[in-house]
Symmetry: C2
């Protein structure tokens, strides 16, 4: 799977914002849809939420199976999808891999979905 | 299909934000995932983008088939999914139905995905 997070970072905002006043093209729509698909799953939203609210903002698979009530392979599968989408970063320490959110990636998606008037007001208030 | 947009509007932000510092529960994660699924499709992102950038911010199926290169039934199908998710509103005028974005619904999703630090800074700058 392409690292969609990296692809997102390489595009400038006006190019891919579906709500910035210019229609987006097919390729950009496919990239953005890929990241949104990674997000659009209840278990993955709960994983992001659990990791974000963990004491140091990071968690390993071992912390996440019990609160979700899912097996370790299933949790690992969801974590891999989120990491490949550029929404989580992974660091191996000892026997466990620790995951934390990539705030810039999620912030970028939030910006892309912010209606243009709201964004324009922030940049140039009247 | 449940009108997920209405469901979103009925929840207060801290309850369902996956990134607000408290884990979200299963039901809220399922509602938010439902709205994100409606968004996570290249054709639907392009439809939103085309409608938003149309002269009066509205368009009918007749305006949308040619730019997308899709049949009218396919475009209607995607418009129905976006409307049921609360992302578009539909007004019948004469023989055509006209669609426009529901900025508050899309703004809510953007807010939900805004990392908490960014949001806190806006509310209480130091």
């Amino acid at each position: 799977m392409e690292n969609v997070g990296t692809a997102l970072a390489e595009m400038t905002l006006p190019q891919i914002s579906p709500l910035a006043g210019e229609p987006i093209d097919r390729a950009d729509a496919e990239r953005l849809a890929g990241v949104l698909k990674a997000l659009a799953d209840p278990a993955r939203l709960r994983l992001l939420s659990l990791i974000q609210s963990a004491p140091d903002g990071e968690a390993c698979v071992c912390d996440l199976t019990a609160p979700l009530g899912l097996s370790q392979p299933t949790v690992s599968h969801h974590l891999r999808i989120l990491t490949e989408a550029g929404l989580l970063e992974r660091e191996k320490r000892g026997v466990w891999a620790f995951y934390r959110l990539v705030p810039s990636a999620i912030g970028t998606i939030a910006d892309l979905l912010t209606p243009p008037r709201k964004r324009a007001t922030k940049k140039a208030p009247r």
